[in-house]
Structure formats: C-alpha cells, structure tokens
Amino acid sequence: MDKQLYLSSSPHIHSGQTTDRVMLDVFLSLLPAAGVSVYFFGWPALKVLLLCIFGSIAAEALCQKAMKHPVSVRDGSAAVTGILLALNLPPSSPWWLPLVGVLAAIVIAKQIYGGLGYNPFNPALVARVVLLISFPVHMTAWTTPTPLGSGLDAVSTATPLGEWKTAVMLTGKLPEAAQSGYADYFIGNMSGSLGEMSALALLIGAAYLFWRRILTWHIPVTFLGSVIILTGVFWLVEPGRYPSPLFHMLTGGLILGVFYMATDMVTSPITVKGALIFGLGCGVITVLIRLFGGYPEGVSFAILLMNAATPLIDHYTKPKKFGFVPEKA
C-alpha cells in the first residue's frame, strides 16, 4: 500500500546536526586528556574513568525509569558528564568517591530538574564541589605521576597550585614549584586531578571542538583573557608573591574549565553578548578566589556562580532585533 504523504510546517530540510553527534564530539575531544591521565597514573586513573562513565549512564537510566520518563542515555550526555566528572577527580580516589559524585551529578544536578536541557548548574561541577566539601581529604589526596611502565610508586604530594597557595599563605613568597617546570605542566607530568594535568591534551581536544563548530570563541577568549590579564597585573606588581599567568593557565583546572566546563551549552548564555559577559565573570571570580580566597582552585566555584547568573544574563542581553526602533519618549 502506498504510504501516506508527510505534511509539516516549513522548513523541510535539516542540517543533520544532532544532539547525539554533539555529545559524541565532546566525548571524543576529552579522550586525549583521559588518555594522558591513564598514561601518567595507570590503573587508578582508568578505574576512576570507567566508574564515572558507566556509573553516569547507569544512574541516568535508573533514575529515568524510576521517574517514568523515557530513557534517553543514547544521547550521550550522561557519558559526557561522566568523563568530565572523572577528569575532576584525583587518581587516588577510592571506588565509592566517583559513585557518590555520579549521584550528585546525574540525579541531583540533572534529572531532578527535568533532565537534559533543564539543569541550571553544570552537573560535573556540582558533583565536584559536593565531593570537595563533603570529602575534602579524599578530594585533595594528590599523588605524583607514576607513568605506565615506570615502576614508580605513587607518593602523595600537593598540586603546584596548592603548593603555591600554602607557600604564599605561610611565607608570602613563591615556592619553587611555581617558578619552573612549566614544560612538565604543559604535557601533564604533574600532580593534580585527571583533567588538571595535560594542558596540551586538552587543547588538542578543544581544537577539535572548534573545528567541528561546537565551541565558539566567545567564552574561552573572555574567560582565559580575563584570567591572563588579571593575574598578569598582579604578577607584574609583585612577582615575588604572585605566579605568572602562564603558571595559572597550566595548573589547576583552568584549561579544563575554560574549554569544557564553562562552555557547557545548557548552563551558559545563548546570546553572543551574554556569552562574553559570562566568560568575563568566570575569569574575574576565578582570579579572586585563587589569589585571595581560601581555596587554591577557583574555577569550579566561579563557573557555578556564573551558571546561576545565566538566566539573568540572557534576559538582559537580548539581541537588538532587526529593524529595532527605540521607543520614543
């Protein structure tokens, strides 16, 4: 029998871009960083990654079933949240830490709000902050890199950023770690969470996302730019106390935050002006927390605070419509 014709509203063609494809691209772009972390930390890193990724998918499926919503794990957003969460955790995490994180990220920060598209806060960051505040010891149990095949044992240590913060608070002076070793920091031969380490791997992934037109320049440029400028000012004024902008870029979760967390589509503004303001706000708050706050790392909090401001920013940065006529008094 002939099938009936389709009738619909225009348009009748589509770009072919799908949410699934976007999520897949983001996931792929994070694989280099994940790979580097496994190289430098071995099995513990892989364990964290697998627990987070598969845990997220399972948590979302179970939660949606329980809420009687259609199960949508196929769109890949849970997997992306999983890998992002993993990159925010230290490699030495005990097995239950990623699972609690997954609960916070998927169930609390995402599904409760209605699932994909409805969450006001970046789920991976919410989870990171929840874990940081609830289990501060576990979340800051950094270890030295133990590259695969090196036969080294993990030794607990502080991250370069943490070292600087402690040093500055105690002595008011830059420690050794903040003055050199940048090459190591760039490649990833340093301590930190899985995603903090290799700026290079993260930049490769970000370049891929720019090429695929999933990332646009607005948030990364304003976020990174404002961090560089602000830290630069402080460094120039007191180089003995404040590390250089390059140090800030290569340590802590800044690169991860700038290219992957702040740019999360659901929680950042949809207008062009809005995105610029968002990036700027993230940068300023990050620097303030890093330089003057109690925590060595400010990126997570900065982004979450700006997430809260996103609806307001969107409202006040409505584009001027074509042929806008200002209201005459």
Binding site: K3, Q4, L5, Y6, L7, S8, S9
Partner: protein, 281 residues
Amino acid sequence: MIESVLSLGGIGLVAAVTLGLAARKFAVEVDPRELAILDVLSGANCGACGYPGCAAFAKAVSEGEASASLCTPGGSETIEKVAHIMGVDAKIQAPQVAVVLCQGDNVKAGSKYRYLGIEDCVAAQKIADGPKECPGGCLGMGTCSRVCPFDAIEMTEEGLAVISREKCTGCRKCVSACPRQVIKMTPLEATVHVLCNSHDKGGQVRKYCQIGCIACQICKKAAPEAYVIENFLATVDYDHYQQAGPAVDKCPTKCIRDFVDGYPEGSSFIPPAVPVKHDAA
C-alpha cells in the same frame, strides 16, 4: 554580656516599632468581604469566571462587578457561600460538564496525511486542517488535556481525548482550547451522548470512521423526544436527556454511548457505582 542583650534587644524593639507603624501607615484598605470570599473559593485559579485567578474574582465580586454564580468549578456549595457573604440570593445554574463528542481514535478513524511537527492540536489543525480525515473529530494530541487545571482529561493510547465526568468542574477551558470544537458542555445529569461531531453524509463518514454518526435516524425512531438530526448529525436534545436511553443499543455504528456503562474504549476512567452529584450538601 549585658551589652549584647541590650543592643540586640534594642534593635529588635526598634524594628518592631518601625514595622508596626509602617503596617498602620501603609495599610491597604481591603474590603473584609473580599477576604472572606477568597477564603471560601477553591483556590484553583482556573479562570472559568473570566478573571485571572481567585483573588481577582474575589475582588470583583466584593466590588459588585461579578456575580457569585460565575464560579462554576466551585459548584453550588461555593456559589451559595459567596452569595451569602455578599448578602444576595445565589443564582445557581444546573451543573455542566464537558464531553468530547468523538470516539474516533487512530484505530477507528482514518488520517489524510502523516503529520510531522509539534504534538499540539492547534498547531496540527493549521496544516491542511489537521491530519484526521474527519473534519470534526478529535485530533488526539492532548491540547485540551494540557489546558485542564483539574487533570480531568486523559489521552488514550490510541489518541482520543476522554473527559472524566467526576473530575470535570465545568470551567470550559478545554472548550476554548480545542481547535475542532469537538468538546461541548452538557448537563451533568445527562449520561447519554452521541459521540460524533461530523456533519458529513453517512456514506462519507463510513469511509473514514468506523464509529461515526451516519444520520440513519434510527435513534430518533427509538426515542423521538430525545434526538435531533441536523445536517447529517444526530445530537441528544438535552432538554429531554432522560429519554435518550433506548437508542443506545439500537445505534448501528455504536456512536451513542451511555457513560453509566463506561467510558470510551481505551479510557482508564471508571464510572462510580453511585451516580456522581456535584453538590454533596
């Protein structure tokens, strides 16, 4: 120690006095009747009265602008209470409920095209008058169900809207939302309805629907007082609804239904053992 007690106590005192003075100075004159009316209203904010919410309706009634009987969802109990507060006689109309005059779901009724787009009857109706071949039948995309403030409308799995006579309060929101005007207000007591809204000739209706009215006039022969056939469609004359019963079994397409025997196929609603009465006074 004493300083903290004195300072905090002092602040509290100053705040209390300021607030008290402000409450008196900036007090808004509210008609006490308005508050009393608001109290007895159901608070559903359904808009059936034509006002944006119960508070606005209470204000309008207290100002003499609106009649108490506008609150149909509240039922005669509420109307009487409101009228009592205003000191007037309550004008109570017979309660009405909404009925979807159609049983043509996707299995029983044919479509003229495959619709792609927003799952909304108003949107679908704009595209070549809707995907259903029957020009008057229910499109089944749930616009009425979404608009109902009382959760009284369900969409069956096969795409038919069914309204629960027990839950419907007669607010009429579904009637205005439906782009096909297939929902009509009927007296609550009337349980027999002709569930069809198509004015096409019988032969045409047969082509696109298994359960539509073909205007064969058999119902009118079985119960002459209770049925009116106009423009190829039979409808119950609700002034004589009590006599409509005998035609139910005689209808050849089974489009006449007595809701006492059950809701249309696919519905999860179950008629109560005792016939529903709005006023349980």
